[in-house]
Symmetry: C2
Subunit: 202 residues, 2 copies
């Protein structure tokens, strides 16, 4: 949960930078972006050296530091498996490239799709995954296939040397401890809304 | 951030229930699901009445209580605006219906799409939004349109009486204080991975 907070602070600092703000205190940051001020103070106290006594933190310096900690000061080569509705929305989403995540190869089991390419990125059949991975230094894999294929896809990604997997398929994946797994369930985003709507009717 | 933790605990308890576990301590819950045990203990202490001294919490009872707090003990009518790649992936995702979020109407500006229907759910033109909303008691809106259309879509949803918006478009939306807004940026999910990969190389 803490990593997610660092991502949220980075985006807030980016907005402040765009708005020309040079320094900010943790109280002001919490106030402007509707965050828990005790939590912000505790989290940012860790970065004391980017703070100026009495006026707060240097926006640009703190942002750059948080981006370094999040590994956003470099580019990551990403393999996308599954070029259906979700996969194509993820591929075209400019937010990934902006943060340094470059989808450089796509794999799909559909023979109609494999063999094509999108914006210069090849769509290959899954069989070619281990061969391709060697030459491409793939670090991250995104799984956007149906639930019943997800475990097999995860095993191929691990065998190909991928060290981190972002999984959208609703399936419990079993992968080795040294590979980092992040599961996404977008209904959790809707639950942050139903929580407030339910509170309003109490 | 706290709401998200409740969602995560609900999913953990659901898995435990599926695995036939009747009671669990906060330490065991943290251990099994790789969570921060001090945080779990603090969060769950709040739900003391579902705990049994010395053996932990009743899995089913606690799960039901968390679902009630999250507003998952009822159904929510959801309007989806934008039936492109992302919109169609969200529409077909079974995770929404399972949690009680039912997309009952879709709006799209494309004349090729408006007038059709998918699995019995009509795709209407945006002009029909305010008319439709009156009859359907729409509580939540999902925005899956390009960034440049997102603000106009948000205003139409607010005018139609929607009280909560889930926004995927990369745009800063200005909406009234009494409407709850949740922005999604899936690159944050990738950042939880790059954080670990960057740590490994330090
Ligand atoms: N986690 C979430 O919040 C969330 C949200 C939406 C969708 N989803 C999930 O994402 C997945 C994709 O959804 P979609 O709407 O894009 O489905 P889709 O059917 O449009 O796309 C699936 C794609 O995967 C390909 N595929 C199937 N089996 C494969 C395999 N073994 N190897 C490689 N490619 C394979 C298909 O050819 C197709 O192109 C589903 O599992 C869905 O449940 C999750
Ligand atoms: N937040 C994230 O993590 C994330 C991830 C992927 C995509 N996205 C964003 O989601 C949005 C949709 O992406 P996509 O890949 O589905 O795009 P898409 O082009 O496939 O779909 C957009 C749909 O919106 C419709 N539309 C356009 N203007 C409209 C309007 N004014 N009113 C109603 N409908 C309108 C189009 O007809 C089309 O059907 C984009 O803004 C994209 O940047 C966000």
């Amino acid at each position: 949960m803490t990593i997610r907070r660092l991502s949220v602070y980075t985006r807030c600092l980016l907005q402040l930078e765009e708005d020309g703000v040079k320094t900010i205190s943790s109280e002001e940051l919490a106030e402007r972006f509707n965050l828990n001020s005790a939590q912000v103070r505790k989290d940012l106290a860790y970065f004391g050296e980017f703070g100026v006594r009495g006026t707060g933190y240097y926006v640009s310096g703190l942002k750059a530091e948080l981006q370094k900690i999040l590994g956003l000061d470099r580019e990551w080569q990403v393999a996308l498996v599954g070029y259906g509705n979700l996969g194509s929305a993820l591929f075209h989403y400019k937010g990934f490239t902006r943060q340094g995540f470059r989808i450089t190869v796509i794999f799909d089991a559909d023979p109609q799709k494999a063999g094509r390419s999108v914006e210069g990125v090849p769509i290959l059949s899954l069989r070619e995954l281990s061969q391709e991975a060697k030459g491409r230094n793939l670090q991250i894999g995104i799984i956007a296939v149906p639930a019943e294929s997800a475990q097999a896809v995860a095993e191929r990604l691990v065998a190909a040397g991928v060290k981190a997997i972002l999984n959208f398929a609703p399936a419990r994946l079993k992968i080795p401890k040294d590979v980092r797994l992040q599961n996404v369930d977008l209904s959790i985003e809707l639950e942050t809304l139903s929580f407030y709507l339910a509170q309003a009717t109490r």
